[in-house]
Symmetry: C2
Subunit: 413 residues, 2 copies
C-alpha cells in the first residue's frame, strides 16, 4: 500500500472555525437547533464543501445531508458522519467534528486515491441532541433506520408547541415523506465524536477506538413517608423519605465505585416535597441513571438497585415506586470495522485506547441496520454540552486520519 492518507491540520481548523460561525454566540458558544436558519446555513456550508470536492450530494426526507463517492462495484456503502445540531448552549465540537470528518475524509480519499472499489458516503445528521424537540433525540438517525413515522411529525413538539412537521415544512421538507429516509443499503457506519469524558486526557492519548456503546437505564424513584414536624417527632417514630433517599443514593453510587470502570451510576435529580427546613418531608423523588456496556452486568446492577430500594423502604416504613424511564441495550461495535480502524491508527502512528462510550450516539441507532464503530477524540477536561468544550486541532486531525484511513482500508483494494 502507498503512503498513509494526508489530512491537513489547516483544513480541519478552517472547517471547524467556519461551521462554528453558524449559530455562534460569545467567543466559543454554538446554538444551532435543527430546522432554524443557522442550522440551514450550516447544512448549506457542508453541502458546498462536499460539492466542491466532487461528491454527489442530496438531502433526504428528514433533512440529513448525504455526500456520495460512488465505488466501482454495485452494492451497499460504507458511511461516516455525525450531527451538526447543537445543545442550546453548546460548543464547536460535539457532533460537528464528526460531520466535518466525514466530508474531509471522502474529499481526501477522492483526491488522493480516486474512485474506490466500494461506495462511500458522508452523512450530516439532524436533531441528535433533542435540543429543540426534546422527545426527538436521534431524529435523523432514527429516520434512517426506519423508526420515524408521519405521526411522529405531528405529535413531536418544541418548547413553543410547534410540531416538528411544521418546522420541517419551513425548511422545505415534506413531513409526509419521512419514511423515504430509510436506508437498507449501508455496509457499515463509522462515527467520529469528541469523547465527552476525561478518559483519553487521563490516559494521555489523542484518540480512542470505541468498541461498545454503553447500555443505559434511567429510573424515577419516589419514596413516600409521613410529613411531620422536625422538632416534635422523635427519630424512632419517623418515616422519613429523605433518610431513605440519602441511604439509597449513597449506596447505588458506592456500588458503581466498587464495580470500577466502565460502570457509572448517577443521581442527578432530586425533588423534596414539601421541602421546608423544619419539616420531615412527605416525599422524595429522584432519578438513578446507571450504565454498563455488558448486557449481563447491566441487568445485575439494576437488580441490586431494585433490591436495595425495596430493603431500605421496607426497613424505614416508606412506600417505594420505581418507574423505568429509559432502557437502551448496549451496542457492541463490529470487529471488522474495529480492526480497520486499529490498523489505520497504527499506520499513522497514532496511539489509541480501546474503550466503551458511556454516552449515547447516533451510531447506536445505526447499529439497528448495519455494523457500526466509533472513534473518539480527546476532550479537554472531558467537557461537552458547553461553550467550553475543546479539542486541539492536532487531536481532531488525528481522529479524522483514523477515520479516513479506516475507510480506505474498507473501500479500496
Amino acid at each position: 500500500m502507498s503512503q498513509p492518507i494526508l489530512i491537513e491540520e489547516n483544513a480541519v481548523r478552517e472547517a471547524i472555525m467556519e461551521l462554528a460561525e453558524y449559530g455562534r454566540f460569545g467567543k466559543t458558544g454554538v446554538r444551532r437547533l435543527v430546522y432554524t436558519p443557522e442550522w440551514s446555513d450550516a447544512m448549506a456550508a457542508c453541502r458546498a464543501w462536499a460539492e466542491k470536492a466532487g461528491l454527489e450530494t442530496r438531502i433526504d426526507a428528514v433533512g440529513n445531508l448525504w455526500a456520495r463517492l460512488a465505488g466501482r462495484v454495485e452494492g451497499s456503502a460504507f458511511v461516516t458522519g455525525s450531527h451538526i445540531d447543537s445543545q442550546k448552549s453548546g460548543g464547536r465540537y460535539d457532533g460537528a467534528l464528526g460531520a466535518i470528518a466525514g466530508i474531509l475524509s471522502l474529499a481526501a480519499l477522492k483526491e488522493q486515491f480516486g474512485t474506490p472499489e466500494r461506495s462511500l458516503e458522508a452523512v450530516v445528521l439532524c436533531e441528535e441532541e433533542g435540543s429543540r424537540f426534546p422527545t426527538a433525540g436521534f431524529w435523523g438517525s432514527r429516520a434512517i433506520v426506519g423508526k420515524t413515522t408521519v405521526e411522529d411529525t405531528q405529535t413531536t413538539l418544541d418548547f413553543n408547541g410547534e410540531t416538528i412537521g411544521a418546522a420541517m415544512r419551513e425548511v422545505g421538507l415534506d413531513p409526509v415523506r419521512v419514511g423515504e429516509a430509510k436506508r437498507d443499503d449501508i455496509a457499515g457506519f463509522i462515527e467520529l465524536h469528541i469523547e465527552q469524558g476525561p478518559v483519553l486526557e487521563d490516559a494521555g492519548r489523542p484518540v480512542a477506538i470505541v468498541d461498545a456503546i454503553t447500555g443505559i437505564a434511567q429510573f424515577e424513584v419516589s419514596l413516600v413517608g409521613e410529613q411531620n414536624h422536625a422538632g416534635a417527632f422523635p427519630m424512632d417514630l419517623r418515616r422519613d423519605p429523605m433518610a431513605g433517599f440519602a441511604e439509597i443514593a449513597s449506596r447505588v453510587i458506592d456500588h458503581a465505585h466498587r464495580l470500577g470502570r466502565p460502570a457509572v451510576t448517577t443521581v442527578g435529580r432530586c425533588h423534596v416535597d414539601p421541602g421546608g427546613s423544619a419539616i420531615i418531608p412527605r416525599q422524595v423523588q429522584f432519578s438513578i441513571d446507571a450504565r454498563h456496556p455488558d448486557p449481563e452486568t447491566r441487568q445485575r446492577i439494576y437488580a441490586v438497585h431494585e433490591a436495595l430500594i425495596k430493603e431500605v423502604a421496607d426497613r424505614r416504613g416508606l412506600a417505594a415506586h420505581i418507574r423505568k424511564m429509559i432502557d437502551l441495550e448496549p451496542c457492541l461495535c463490529d470487529p471488522l470495522l474495529l480492526d480497520a480502524l486499529s490498523r489505520a491508527a497504527e499506520r499513522h502512528g497514532i496511539p489509541t485506547l480501546t474503550m466503551p462510550s458511556g454516552a449515547g450516539h447516533d451510531a447506536q441507532q445505526m447499529s439497528l441496520v448495519c455494523p457500526t464503530a466509533m472513534v473518539f477524540v480527546r476532550s479537554a477536561g472531558g467537557r461537552s454540552h458547553t461553550p467550553e468544550e475543546f479539542s486541539t486541532i492536532a487531536d481532531c486531525t488525528d481522529g479524522i486520519r483514523v477515520v479516513a484511513e479506516g475507510l480506505r482500508i474498507l473501500a479500496y483494494r
Copy 2:
C-alpha cells in the same frame, strides 16, 4: 385544700368549636392570619368570653388580648395563654387550645374560688406562626419581652409586600406604640399547647409537663463539585456533590438516631443544580435542622456535623459552605412552676409524662422576662399545621385542668 377545680368538657368543646369557625375552611381546616377580619372576629370572641366571666380585658399595643383577675396583693401576675393565629392550612388546636385554656381557667378559678392572693392573667397572643408575615414569628410574645421595635413594623412584610405596621393600622393599632406592649411584671408564664409530636400517643398518656424547650440550629450547606456527563465520566474522576450530600445526610440523620431521644436531626430541603437525570450535578444545597434541649450536647452535635461535612467534602474534592440560619438556645422550664403543674396533675389523677418540647413556642420568648413552663396535650398521630390535627375533648380538658389547678396552687392560699 378543697375539691379539685372543675373544668367541664362541654365548655371546652364549645369554645374549641366556636373559635374554629373564625377562618374555617373545609370541615376541620382553619386559616386565621394575624390582623385579618377572621382573626379580629376570633379575638372579639375571646374578649367576650373573658368579659362574660368578669375578667378585666384590654388589647395591648401589638394586639395581644389580656384578661385579668386581680389578686389581693399588689405585684406581678401569673400569666397563661397561647396564640390564635394559625398556619395558612392549619387546624383547630395549634395555639387556639392554649388561648382557650387561659380564659376558661381564669373563669373557673374566679367562679369557684373567687379573688386570688396573686393576680392572674390570661393572654391571647398574635402572629406566633409567622404565617402572614414570614419574618415575624413570635410577634406578640416578642413585643411583650421588648424585642419589637417601630422599625420592625416598617420593614416586616407579608407575601403581598404590605408592612405589618399598615396591617396593624387596619385593625386600629398604632405601630408607633409597639414598645408599650412590653411587660416586666410577670411572675411566671404557663403555656398549654398540643404536642405536635407522637410521644404522648406512643406512651399512652393524655398530658405532658414540659421541662425544657429544645435548642435549635438550622444550617444551610452547599456542596460544589464539577458538572459533567453522567455517561462519559468515570466514577473515579468525578467530583459529585450528590454523592457527598447523600453521605452527609445519611450520617447526620443516623447520628441523631444513635443519640436517641430527645435528639432530632432533619434534612428537609435539598436543591440540585442543574438537576438533570443524565448530568452529574454541579451543586447541591440542603438544610440541616438539629435540636437538643441540653446546651452542651447540642454544641457537640453541631461540631460533629461540621467535622463530617468537612471530611466528606475534602475526600470527595468538593467545596463546602456552611451558613447558620437559626440558632436558638434551649430554654429550661422553672422548677417551681413545674412542681405546681405536677401536683395539679396528681390532684386530678391525670397521668403525665415529663418531656422536652422539640418545637419552638411563645414560652421560649417569655422566658427572657419570667419563669416559664408548658403543658402538652396528646395529638392524634402527632399531626399539626394541618386541618387533620386532632386532640380529644377529654385530653384537652385534662390539659386545661392541669393548668387551672396549677394556677390555683400558685395564686391562691
